[in-house]
């Protein structure tokens, strides 16, 4: 992802600033080479030239979808640098935002992957349901995207009982919807034909390639930073890690749908256990200088492990900030996953890792047998793959059983 790749993201579905070169033999892909950096904005250098507090808003813009994860991860690291005590209520509010973000990000992704396989009906349904979450975060933070809720040493806004009860409603609503989606995904022929057995990443490969997040968990790897290296209030929160051993795109869909249900349970737990009153931020201002210090910070963003390294030199501006976004970690797995598959399977496989730089805007396909080069843009590829599946539907079904 992003960032630097990290950075970013792109439009998860329509045009992306990422470019892949695929090497094919006939219809089968033998190799792939990603070309990234279309959204490289030099954020790490910029961060060295802004103050610790200004960076809260800069680093939030690494990714607009997981903005709260980035800002929260940075704030968490900066608290280690400042050696600040964070009030408990602030951690609860921060975690609430993280989980709401996971809900809206997974709903968004579910719509995107359905669009990638040409199933726009479900795309419209998920994006409609996502609006419930967006309204709630707007109530809590004052903006739909880019909540800016975190600050170094806590959060910036308190939350009242009305909003908390709304959060309960939203959590139950999304949980019931997630069950409906799971039913649809597991029973619809259209979806099963395009995703079952596509984009295989075995458990051994997932561990070897250091795959992170739901992509790894869909390959049966039980790794979740929330559970393995608990931060904020996750060591007290009861929750299950969703894993599935299907290793294909279908499993990735199922894992994310079930994670939505788990997230809604976490949200309910947070609402019931949130401290009634108390401070929401430590006393650190824009003009507080940190000691010389360094810290590494990790959170589980919707797409997987997000990593920050922060170093201070005792002045108002940080010395070095390093960001590793989950999409960058998963890009090596994508290259592995597409090998041996058909050109028509590219959209669901690439979208399957939930790339924050997501879509492919221009794909070059080179046939190694006759060196013919063909350029596709994303729309043409989508149309091509739907047509191809329509044509080859019967023998494929027999082949895949």
């Amino acid at each position: 992802m992003s960032v630097k790749i990290p950075i970013g993201p792109i439009h998860p579905m329509l045009k992306e600033p990422i470019n892949f070169t695929f090497y094919v033999e006939g219809e089968t892909i033998v190799d792939a080479e990603p070309n990234i950096g279309f959204v490289h904005r030099g954020i790490e250098k910029l961060a060295e030239n802004k103050t610790w507090f200004q960076n809260l808003y800069l680093l939030e813009k690494v990714c607009g979808i997981c903005s709260s994860s980035h800002q929260g991860c940075y704030a968490q690291g900066a608290e280690k640098v400042f050696e600040a005590e964070v009030p408990e209520k602030a951690l609860y509010i921060r975690t609430l935002m993280w989980e709401l973000e996971r809900l809206h990000s997974h709903l968004l992704w579910l719509g995107v992957i359905m669009h990638e396989i040409g199933f726009d009906t479900l795309f419209m349904y998920t994006w409609r349901d996502r609006e419930a979450v967006m309204d709630l975060v707007e109530m809590i933070s004052g903006r739909r995207v880019g909540y800016s809720i975190n600050t170094i040493g806590g959060v910036r806004r308190d939350i009242d009982y009305q909003t908390l009860s709304k959060a309960l409603d939203v959590a139950s609503f999304i949980a019931t919807r997630a069950e409906v989606y799971e039913k649809i995904v597991l029973r619809e022929r259209t979806i099963l034909d395009r995703t079952d057995g596509v984009g295989i990443l075995s458990k051994a490969d997932a561990i070897r390639l250091n795959t992170v997040g739901p992509t790894a968990r869909a390959s049966g790897v039980k790794r979740d930073i929330r559970y393995n290296l608990p931060y904020a209030i996750y060591d007290e929160t009861p929750f299950d890690i969703v894993i599935d051993d299907g290793c294909d795109v279908l499993s990735r869909i199922i894992v994310r749908i079930r994670e939505m249900i788990i997230s809604s349970e976490i949200i309910k737990w947070i609402v019931f256990n949130m401290p009634k009153n108390g401070p929401i931020a430590a006393k650190i201002t824009h003009f507080t200088k940190p000691p010389e210090n360094e810290a590494a910070s990790r959170v589980e963003a919707p797409r997987g492990e997000l990593f920050y390294y922060l170093k201070s030199n005792g002045s108002l501006k940080p010395e070095r900030i390093k960001i590793r976004t989950p999409t960058l970690a998963n890009i090596v797995s994508v290259i592995h996953m597409v090998k041996g598959h058909y050109i028509a399977d590219i959209p669901p496989i690439v979208a399957g890792i939930d790339p924050c730089i997501s879509c492919m805007d221009r794909v070059a396909i080179i046939d190694v047998r006759n060196e013919k080069k063909q350029l596709f843009n994303h729309d043409q590829l989508l149309r091509y793959s739907i047509k191809w599946y329509r044509k080859n539907y019967r023998w494929l079904r027999e082949e895949r059983g």
């Binding site: 790749i5 990234i36 950096g37 910029l46 050696e83 070897r208 390294y309 090596v332």
Partner: protein, 149 residues
């Protein structure tokens, strides 16, 4: 949480220094020529997840930090391995054979800091366009930008 004594016992005299920070995370300092040996020991020990490679130019040397995790249910460990390379002639051994995911991280460090990884085939820029000058490495401290207005 990893204990210092355990680490010292398993790494022997490979590590130059091992320290913990306030939150209990271990920082292992190592000479450049022993880096690969140390990482392979850690890899055997179960540190199979490379979070990323951080490059940092402190003005005199270039620091390379390898952030590793050993997943072990609730008691997972994370440690940071730190090594230094020369600023003028920045070279470091590639760890692609130990951690295949280093592919993108090494290219990123090469791109932004100009550290050449020996043994990394096809090392080229990851993020910046191909047509920038060869010695353009924005995260070096002598490259300055102006964010005022």
């Amino acid at each position: 949480m990893v204990s210092i004594d355990e680490l010292k016992a398993s790494l022997g005299d490979l590590a130059k220094e091992i320290k913990t920070d306030k939150s209990g995370k271990a920082w292992v300092f190592v000479e450049l020529d022993k880096l690969k040996k140390l990482l392979s020991l850690l890899r055997i020990d179960g540190y199979d997840h490379l979070s990323t490679i951080t490059g940092y130019d402190d003005g005199e040397k270039i620091q390379l930090m390898y952030h590793l995790i050993k997943f072990n249910d609730k008691g997972s460990n994370d440690i940071n391995v730190v090594t230094f390379t020369d600023r003028e002639n920045s070279v470091a051994p590639s760890i692609l054979d130990l951690y295949p995911s280093a592919l993108v991280y090494e290219r990123e460090v090469f791109d932004l800091l100009g550290v050449r990884f020996e043994g990394h085939k096809g090392l080229k820029r990851l993020l910046l366009p191909e047509d920038v000058p060869e010695d353009f490495h924005p995260l070096r401290k002598d490259f300055k930008i102006n964010v005022e207005g």
